[in-house]
Each structure stands twice: as structure tokens, then as C-alpha cells.
Symmetry: C2
Subunit: 169 residues, 2 copies
């Protein structure tokens, strides 16, 4: 749950007199994109290379009947105390220009999407699209998207719930 | 301090009989790159947009005498429990292809650089360059660099010490 503080300072007044909410984020998760059908391979690699632990995986609903392609749409791994999301670039519209490799977006988790997007936009970020339903390992229920002045894409989303039945310990 | 476990299993034997060390990382920090002289602006933006807190900053030694250019080489901000590093792309050879925006590398902190690089390379990563002296907000003393099969660059470095005298609360 995000904590909110109403900020009635001069900064708030400069923005047309509206009070600026400060939104506390519960988590920041980098979101990596790999080539189509490589999520499984990538998770296995991060386990053996860095000792990562898989904490969540989401199967691809459309590919389940097709035995030739892997069925993993996205996964969440834990490295130390940090979580990293890995998605198949072919299926995720949040991928920045469908870039793989170092094309990373950051997921900020909070219950108050609207306030968080509004605060970011007031600070100079550009909102991209409407708040929508999330899918994959990130963005359990609702997700907003902003691009900051430095070219980084931030997804502001409700905290992820564990997807049942498909989680590997 | 990293903990190390000697792994004498079949996986270790498959790698020419050598035991594989498992290295525990103390932290994972995404490392963002912004345009030359924009580190100060970016820190201010992340403070107002996301409520980030600045926890460390490193001045540029060569620019200190030049009053026309900002002197911030890199900074570390905290967002919730996560740390994010921000560097001036013009001065950091670790920037992936000098990309700004979503060009991100990840810093993995551990005391045992050699074992961590060796494990990653055995798992399929490619080591890039020698282990060298670190600089900036990341990579306090020594840093190794590997690129994984998915194009992501990982810096494996000793934990950062707070730089004295220049830290803003």
C-alpha cells in the first residue's frame, strides 16, 4: 500500500495551486526484454550465472497448444534482495522500441497509479497512453506509463500478485 | 561481504572437473546513463517525479575548475528500497555503446569479483576486458564486466563506499 503525503508547499502552488501528492513506491523492478521464446533460457542462465531464484512465471496463453514453442511469456527472478522481470519482447507492448538486451524499463509499484503518474508528469515526464490493464509478471492489475526527460520508460503499476499454479520455488 | 559455497556437483564436474563457486551478491543496482552534464538535472527530476532520495554523489575531478559546466560525474539515488546509479555518459566507459535513456547496465556488488566473473563466464556470459579500478558512484575499488547472451552488460564490482565530504542528505 502506498503512503501519500499532501504537499502544500510553494512547489505545489507553482503548479496552478494544486496540491502535489507524494507517492511512496513499494518496489522498483527493472524489466528486461529478451528475444522471442528466450525467457526460459534467460531464467536458466541467470540462475547459473548469478545464482538468481525464480519467484514467478507467467505462461503464454496463446502458445499453450503449440508444443514447438516455449510457453513462458514472462518471469520474475530474485537476485539478492532485488527483483528483475524478464519478458518475451514479441508480446509486450511496453518494450521500448522492441529493444532487447540493454533496452530496460523500470516498474514502480504503488496502489495509487493516478497520483504517481500526475506527480511524474508535473515534474516533467510525458505520459504515454491511458492507464490500462496489466499483464505478464509485472503490472498485476493496472498500469500507467511515462517517459522521463532522459529517455527512460517507467511503468507505474499495482503490485503484482503471485500467479497461481505455475510458480516454481 | 560475499558468501561463497563450493559446489562439487555434476555441474561442476562438467566444467572440466573444476568446482563451481556460488557467489552471493549483496546488491543489484541498475545504472542509468544521461547526456553529458545532465546528472544534476536527472537527480532533481527523480526527486520531484518519484520522491527519490540522493544518497551519494561523485564530483568530476577534471571539471571542478571549470565553472561553466556542472561538476557532477555520477550519483546514487534511492527509490523505496532500491538504489539506482546515474552517470554522465561522456565519462563512463561502461556505458553500453554510449547509449543514453534506456541503455542500462546492472551493477552486482560482491567482494569476490574473480569467482563471480568466472561463474558467469562458465554459464555463458562473455568477459569484457580485465578487472580494473572502478570510479564514480558505482564500483568503489575493483570492477569486472561481462555481457550475457541476451545483450545485457553486468558490472561485477566491490561494494561502494560512501564518498566523504560531498554527500547530500
Amino acid at each position: 500500500m502506498a503512503s501519500e503525503v499532501t504537499d502544500g508547499t510553494a512547489a505545489g502552488e507553482a503548479n496552478g495551486g494544486a496540491a502535489v501528492k507524494t507517492v511512496a513506491f513499494t518496489a522498483v523492478k527493472p524489466h528486461l526484454f529478451v528475444e522471442c521464446s528466450k525467457v526460459c533460457d534467460a531464467v536458466a542462465f541467470y540462475k547459473s550465472a548469478f545464482g538468481a531464484e525464480e519467484v514467478n512465471r507467467v505462461s503464454h496463453p496463446k502458445r499453450k497448444a503449440d508444443q514447438e514453442l516455449p510457453v513462458l511469456l514472462s518471469a520474475e527472478i530474485k537476485l539478492g534482495s532485488s527483483s528483475i522481470l524478464i519478458s518475451d519482447v514479441s508480446d509486450d507492448s511496453t518494450a521500448p522500441g522492441k529493444a532487447v538486451g540493454s533496452g530496460v524499463v523500470f516498474c514502480l509499484e504503488t496502489e495509487d497509479i493516478e497520483a504517481a503518474v500526475e506527480t511524474a508528469v508535473k515534474a516533467g515526464a510525458v505520459s504515454e497512453g491511458e492507464i490500462s490493464e496489466g499483464e505478464g509478471a509485472c503490472c498485476g492489475k493496472r498500469v500507467g506509463k511515462v517517459k522521463d526527460p532522459y529517455g527512460v520508460v517507467w511503468l507505474i503499476c499495482t503490485p503484482t500478485a503471485k500467479k497461481g499454479g505455475d510458480v516454481e520455488a
